[in-house]
Amino acid sequence: MVGLISALIIIPLIGALTLYAGPPRNTRSMAFVFNALSAFCALMLWQKFDTGAAAFQFVERHVWIPSIGAEYLVGIDGLSLLLVLLTSLIVPFAFLAQRMDRGAAALMLVMQSALYGTFTAQNFVLWFLFYEMSLVPAFLLIKIWGGENRDRAATKFFVYTFFGSIAMLLAFLGIYFVNGTFDFATLAGLGKTGLLPGKLAWLGFAGIFLGLAVKVPVFPFHTWLPDAYETAPTGVSMVLTGILSKMGVYGFVRLLLPLFPNEIKILGPWLLALAVCSIVFASLAAWAQSDLKRMVAYLSINHLGYCMLGLFAVTASPIVAAKIDTHAALSGVFMQIFNHGITAAALFYYVGLLEQRRGLRGINDFGGLMQRTPLLCGWMSVAMFSSLGLPGLNGFIGEFLIFKGSFAMAASFTAIAVIGLLVTAIAFARAMQALFSGPLAESCRAFPDLLRSEKLVVVPVTLLMFVIGIAPQFVFNIFNATVVQMAWLFS
């Protein structure tokens, strides 16, 4: 009997095979069938999930390659479940964002499976397998179906992240040789006493940090991101920013922070500084972009910077924080993970809509859209306001909690990070002014307003933004027990 989690991982793979082997028609509807199946599994997980328990649930454990300690070990806690749900939510919308031929659709499904695997695997070998498995489809999708400069961007994306992965792999081999296990939970338990002796610990730390920092990305390892996101087709950009970018943050929470608490404490201010640099410089760079997609890409870096700020404040700060602050920061980070997934994907979707209509996506290629396409402008503004953290929409909840938590532990860094909140608003206000206001540009006269098929994406996503912004408890319920558990682990 296959467990729910395994089913979740396998279904998209079967889908990919079917798409690849089956008739070339109806690609999208077939993809949706498989999306619906995996979404059903994800919902089943959510429904059966015991929100009060901190331990991993739905654990499936099988011997795989005992000689190297590799096990097939999957299970979920609140954080994993959150990301599984996010994946199930974003991927169908990515399929709706554009027509894909069956090759691309199959690759998307492979990527989806890899993502489910990454978020549920609890053994390093398995985790790493899925982690890398997501890289290949992403690379191919950019390389084959991307826009301008796709070769360069894809290569850069691949080489850069692959380089990081190798560093991480080497570090983990070192850890394995010393400790003899790849099991996340066991390793986390050993983390406080030090996994590796002496200088080796720093090498191990550096390897894993590099791998994850590239993935998130954290400043200054972020330069592959704007190129990749800019070039990728809309649907792929949505998945990249909505889910793939969370793999790095997830890796930090699962691997680096529990495994190397001492190293992180020693490097504390530096790590916090990197997070703040991500926040501030990325928002400033976003302000300076003239390409909408690049702008959204930079804001993605900025938003993940808030996650890193929260995580580093909890683990890297010398100040012993009150429970409430640790809980706030961690809850905020998890909330931000989910909200950024929704909002950033939505923003890429809207940029895609504009690009479809105009053929270009420069900020100055449009003008006066409010007169021609008020619905598109209205709904798009909601996503923008959500992204800039307007209270009442989803983005604010996570950001408020992150700032609340990190203020207690790293007040000065938090104070500087607030600049990011301001500059994000400037970037969006500038974009809104350029796109929506003024006289209607000649080139936009024939734009259709939101089509029915587009409303299918826009309405549910926007509703979700409102619901989470006003009554977020149902999201918190998913990970509250995990937050308490992790706060204990990190303290």
């Binding site: 330069t223 592959w224 429970k323 203020f407 301001l422 002014q433 929506f436 206001s437």
Partner: protein, 664 residues
Amino acid sequence: MNWLVNNLWLIPAVPLAISLVILSLANSRRKSAAGLAVAGQIVALALSIFAFSQTLQTSEFRAVQNFTWFTFGKNALRIGWVLDPVAAAMLMMIALVGLCIFVFSIGYMADDKNFTRFFAYLSFFSGAMLGVVIANSLLLLFVFWELVGLASYLLIGFWIERPSAAAAAKKAFITTRIGDMGFFLGMLWLYHSSGTLLFYDSGNGCLERAGLAMLGGSATFIALLIFCGAVGKSGQFPLHVWLPDAMEGPTPVSALIHAATMVAAGVFLVARVYPLFSLGAINGVTASLTVVVWIGVTTALMAALIAIAQADIKRILAYSTVSQLGLMMVSLGVGGVAAGIMHLLAHGFFKALLFLGAGSVIHGCHHEQDIRKMGGLRRLMPVTFLTYAVGMMALSGMPLFFSGGWTKEEILYATAHWPKSHVPYYLVLAGVILTALYMTRQIIYVFFGNPRVASERAHESPRVMTMPLIVLAICAIFFSVVLTPAWPWLHSYLTGEATRFDIAHLIQPMLLVSFVMVAIGIGLGILMYRRAGLEDRHRSAETDPLEYAQPALFRFLENRMWIDELYAQTVIAFSRTAAHLSDWMDRYVWDGLVRAFGGLGQLFGIFTTDFGERGINAGVDKTTTGTRGLGRIMSGWHSGQIQTYLGVVAIGMLALLLLYAWLV
């Protein structure tokens, strides 16, 4: 506890819900949109009156209802509603002024093609503003505060096809957000120090003794950070620059948001969290309150000076608003909290009246806003003239019959008794003179003399527009009944003291001072401007008398002391450069490093290949031939065809699955 206290949230919720309903209406459903919006406002007003009547039951009435918004980890984040005299008075003012303005808008916006959207935005604003005043948590207040800012942004940029309106909206949004970031930090700090953001929580709130005791020395910083938010919203120096530009919005918007209600939210905020400001006060003076006083004085005087040299009827009123808000801040700073709030309420009525009057004038003059092109409207628009004159008197602070007079007198009294310094008092006196002066100038230009270009074919506005004017004018006069020192009902209501009727208190020394100042202002105004707009031996009709007398000073004031230009050259230029620098660094420095690293790798590759060619290859040529064959096959796999790639991926996956199944 009664029904309304438990359901206080209905007051903001009704207009907010109605705004969503209106948004979903078709553009052509004008009547339903206006009807719904007005109905929502009437409901809000009725509920407000009901709430107000509750607060009359006991002195120092305060009802609180707190609840958990959400639980994170094991901690509950609680927010809530509060009903107390300040909140109730604000509710009444906002709902009543709002209602007048909603009705006025039906006439004023009649020709607009986005009529329904306008009422949706207005309702949204009204709901958010009502939420600000009854929030019992700094967080909830911040939430509504930001929503109010959003409404302001949407309404300033309502005529979005005008680039100037869009630019003004952006400027307002960003400038206020600068202040809000301070507010945000202050809120974080407060939450950190006191452990709660609830104002009142049966003794444990952050404004109550236990909460305040935990703050200690940080209270000053927290208060000042929160004050940043108030500076932004209430257009205080140095963040005042957005407010005059906000006049790009439709005039009812200027009246509702940028005169009567939203801009007063900053003053309200300071009054709401006043215990944070006054914590540890000696003689009523603290460092944070001193800052409030000086910011207020600077703003009040500066804006009043600038108002003298403006030609746009709405801009004059905008600067006047900035100036009056400064005055309210001064009042709060010197300890006159009740006086500040009273002035806020009175100002809400008469400034809305003035703005709507200006709207009526603009409407009558076919959308001309330059006062130098008007004139003689006294006869052409009699209702507008009379109500405008009432507003002018109230704003100038004419004692006895007009609300503004009593509240100004109270502020002067409080300022005169500030122990720290007498300078603010004299500066405020100067401000009173200047206020009367610029209002006299405006009245003379607009309503007296002979009609000029724009006012020749002016007409009185329809009843739907004049009725709100009359209502507001009556409010501006009758509001003074509860303000007189003889029966200081409102003061007692706000402070919780008992009210006694005592006619002797009507004679106050400050009343005389105030009267003299206003008289000087009006007299000076008449003297200076009585021949304004007329040809003269020395100057043309367009030249302002002050411009003629003091051209350099006039230019300085007309150009708003070049503060906008200064910002453009410094702060804005700097941050723009920072943005472009960040982009540049990304493209060339950080990415350059990566590329250099890649280049090094390539170099290494070339070196090793070279080494391999010479050192190793020679001996293993035979092997190579074999490998080459294999290579040819393998390069065939790199067909570039996605199907092939996919096939490989799929087969690999399948193999893994089989392996898994076999192992299990």
